[in-house]
Symmetry: C2
């Protein structure tokens, strides 16, 4: 029996494919510092499970396809605290940010339609866009320029009659870069001029450092009909396993069509929505401590990275990732060597080789992403292991 | 901004679109018996929430993309009790049966590929198949023949070089029809001869009446590489809000490709998986009482339907639905009239007009589906209301 061309062209997760090596390393008794995925060690607020435990309906019934009203209202309240006002009919609850993005791409892309995505990018965008036979048009950025992508000329050079949208993960995964207000204004003007959607993946919204200001594409009223905000409890509240995301849009025609997809999968899990109500109702002061913790980690990681000779990277301003160019030709080969050949006092480290984050073939081969999702001490040790590994690797 | 043709061609849920009328009826103080959707009133086993409440991890982390091993093993144990043996690598946990079907269609269909689906069919199949630009090829059945579809000649007449699969909801939604072992054997032989996949949607597996035997396409070893079983806790354990489904297949190439899609959406909700472990570990005797309850309901519903002059329907053998032809030209118009114009002592009833369950234009216009998801007394009253309504409607 034949499988579809579409599925055969899709890749297995470029992050997860190295698990076979790290599992082997662990079997051999090595300690492996996992800096490769965005699974924070920050405790999930107790309010989540407290709300879940209090759930006491006799029948665990389908929820409304668009989400339970309590959660929609809690999310509206959260946005209202940032001066962004939405109606109930603007918020659609989804199975994580992943489903949100799949729905959006299905709603706006026919086969061959194009989406401009700054590269390196969160690798699953290829899958989300591939579902609809759409085409990722990468906007290339460089380690040497801090992965800065908000350049008007570079964006306009990629726009074609098939351009339907541009994606902004802001603050960025995997680079941690953050847009300024001026840059966002420029992007909104481009979207109006060339008539495309702005897909604003803002799941790291609160994680902006150096006293930077939290922003959102939802704050630009003149493009409200073309802004589609993707959101999630995963990173914001360290609740990745809840799988509760949302789409927020003031475009009524889009919302109505997205609802068809939501009805097709009936609903999102009821008790996770109940738990997420408690998360969105947390006092905003909750973020102060979390943000301070991530900022400390970023600082020590960056300082430690700077000790590595030949490494190229700028200090990122948000999210909890740093992407950097290593003094090796091939970061995948180096990672496999780190897991199979290297240890320092029985310890080694896992990072995400960045080639999989690029759409342009051949780019990113010497780059890596690390997620600062462990405590300061472990992060410092993890980066130290990369440094020690590089010294040994390049001396072979 | 343009939306995709694909999304614009999709329909809103044909079941849910009548809520505006039932909500209005309720506002006017009418009691509405909801026989329209498959949301059972059977209590969810307490084991589910007990397991969820006992969950005590500090960080609600991502689960493995393929599902937590405890749930995969619990599902394997459940199948083993029916003599069906699967490895861990044969079971993929999904966000309900809906995601299972979307994944399967994505994995086997390119644009224009065909799937034969007996009609009337669960309406969301159009959405699942539409995601991949596939084509539903309906195999028409009739109320007069008890919606029987296992006819070799009729099936073979629909097979083309683009046929990739045939779908069997067995026991059936919306008809309640059940395949015999001989019919399943014939279908397996056809699948081998014409090289297509058997998509076995068996979410109502235990709900077979009149001492009928539980069967599964998973019991036919000679077609193990082409059988894809879709399963779910929703109906089996009255846990629709958990959104935990699964795909079971011994086709390793298919599984490996489905895993790409699973990795794209990262994972299913962790605590719902934890709760579902407890469901699948329930003693099989759990089903005896549930089955007996549904069988009693089916009997009273069927007896009550038989009192309606001009109604055409055969007694179904499984699931918890009955589809019947009403003595009206247009069941949608009749339903809207029932909700807006009719009441008997302040009470009326909602069913699902069956036209939306047909892929062939014009068919099913006078048919309805009712789900026997309320207690016996309410079911009898609901069908009585349909009878009283019909008498008044046809006298206008």
């Amino acid at each position: 029996m034949k499988l579809s061309k579409r599925i055969q062209e899709m890749q297995h997760s470029p992050i997860r494919k190295f698990y076979v090596y790290s599992n082997e390393a662990k079997k051999q008794g090595k300690k492996v510092y996992q800096l490769n995925i965005g699974q924070p060690d920050i405790k999930t607020p107790k309010a989540f499970m407290e709300a879940v435990r209090a759930y006491d309906e006799k029948v665990l019934a389908y929820a409304p396809s668009e989400g339970i009203p309590e959660l929609i209202d809690a999310i509206r309240g959260y946005y209202a605290r940032y001066g962004m006002n939405y109606d109930r009919g603007n918020v659609l609850i989804t199975n994580g940010g992943s489903e949100a993005l799949t729905f959006i791409m299905t709603a706006i892309l026919d086969s061959g339609d194009e989406v401009i995505v700054p590269e390196p990018y969160y690798t699953n965008y290829t899958t989300f866009i591939g579902f609809s036979d759409g085409k990722v048009v990468p906007l290339t950025t460089k380690a040497e320029e801090g992965y800065h992508y908000a350049k008007k000329e570079a964006i306009e050079a990629l726009i074609t009659p098939r351009t339907r949208a541009m994606v902004f993960v802001n603050p960025g995964n995997p680079t941690g870069s953050v847009l300024t207000r001026d840059e966002m204004r420029m992007i909104c003007d481009l979207a109006k001029k060339h008539d495309f959607f702005i897909i604003a993946d803002e799941v790291y919204r609160e994680f902006i450092y150096d006293n930077g200001e939290m922003t959102s594409f939802g704050q630009y009223e003149d493009v409200a009909d073309r802004v589609i905000i993707v959101d999630s409890v995963s990173k914001r509240f360290s609740a990745c396993g809840a799988r509760i995301g949302s789409i927020v849009t003031k475009n009524e025609e889009l919302y109505s069509n997205l609802l068809k997809l939501a009805q097709g999968r009936l609903c999102c899990p009821t008790i996770d929505q109940v738990g997420s109500v408690a998360l969105y109702n947390l006092d905003p002061s909750y973020f102060n401590e979390i943000k301070a913790e991530y900022e400390r980690r970023r600082n020590v990681v960056y300082d430690e990275l700077c000790k590595i000779e030949g490494l190229v990277c700028e200090k990122p301003s948000g999210a909890f990732y740093i992407t950097a160019k290593l003094p090796v030709e091939n970061a995948e080969e180096f990672l496999i060597w780190m897991l199979t050949e290297f240890d320092d006092n029985g310890e080694t480290v896992m990072f995400a080789p960045a080639e999989g984050f690029y759409g342009t073939p051949g780019l990113g081969r010497s780059e890596m992403r690390i997620a600062y999702v462990l405590n300061e001490k472990d992060m410092v040790r993890g980066v130290e292991l990369i440094r020690l590994g590089l010294e040994a690797y390049n001396k072979r």
